[in-house]
Symmetry: C2
Subunit: 158 residues, 2 copies
Amino acid sequence: MARNDSTAATPGANRLLVSDLAQDLSFLVARLRSQGSAAANTRLAPLGLKVRSYSVLSLACGDPAPTQRELAEFLWLDPSQIVALVDGLEGGGLVHRETDPSDRRSKLVVGTPRGRELCARARAAASAAEDDSLRALGAAERATLRALLARAAFGPED
Amino acid sequence: MARNDSTAATPGANRLLVSDLAQDLSFLVARLRSQGSAAANTRLAPLGLKVRSYSVLSLACGDPAPTQRELAEFLWLDPSQIVALVDGLEGGGLVHRETDPSDRRSKLVVGTPRGRELCARARAAASAAEDDSLRALGAAERATLRALLARAAFGPED
DNA sequence: CCAATATTCTTGAGAAAGTCAACGATTATT
DNA sequence: AATAATCGTTGACTTTCTCAAGAATATTGG
């Protein structure tokens, strides 16, 4: 959870809203991420997942099965952390490693049937957490936000 | 720094862009935050600051001097982390603690002249980091993003 | 006023996450 | 064939997170 136990998205009168930092994009992103992952961890905890493990599981259950290297780049994590994450999921029978036929150095991480089933429920939980976190924004605003963030995070490709 | 040493914001062809996760707002925020703080830390390192210490310094040099409690809530950090952060800044002579006259339990964190001077340079560095991180977005898009993030992070109080 | 409760900062401990360098196995380059 | 590069893995280390408890100060209810 977090140090801010008020469930309300609005922490109340905050004198610091007038600060320069409150206009800093990086700060806003950092703060929203803290809120968001706190909310997501709360929702995912009953499923035995955290935001991190959920991200890996979700990608492993997706169509192009990712290699560990791809997971590291996509999630912006160190490869050694992917090892630990995949170990955890594999230990729970949610995922398994397959040597990439086209490059035997690489290992594809693919979801098991059980992993896929859990992933479906986890997606619902993650979606609920998003509602918790973005209560202040309407559907259209969320779509706009999504598009801008995607471009900022991955650059203008397509 | 980070595990992604490519300075380009666009890591190149990424097969996982078609994944469901790539449409997940929480994931996008988390990833952009990782990128953003990596960029900011790089820019702030020559000044002896990190994103965390910069945030505290910036608020301490702002107009309503914050208490440590307010810093914790605003930055979404545990109060004990604020202690460490302020200790560091105070040790460098950038900030000092003042007992709040209206509540002697609280301590106001206020920037010293030296802290304010460094803060000005740090703001420029942070701004440059933002350019690094949001190269893909134009000024109008950044303004839209800022407004949406601010509302999501703090609720609809204007 | 006084006792009980709450809040603020602080400390300390342990868990989790981030960072970095090295290694064996495999692939790519020359 | 030899050299260099890449991938997953391990291990060590630092930083960050999370929680519980304590001292000083404020607030509340009798």
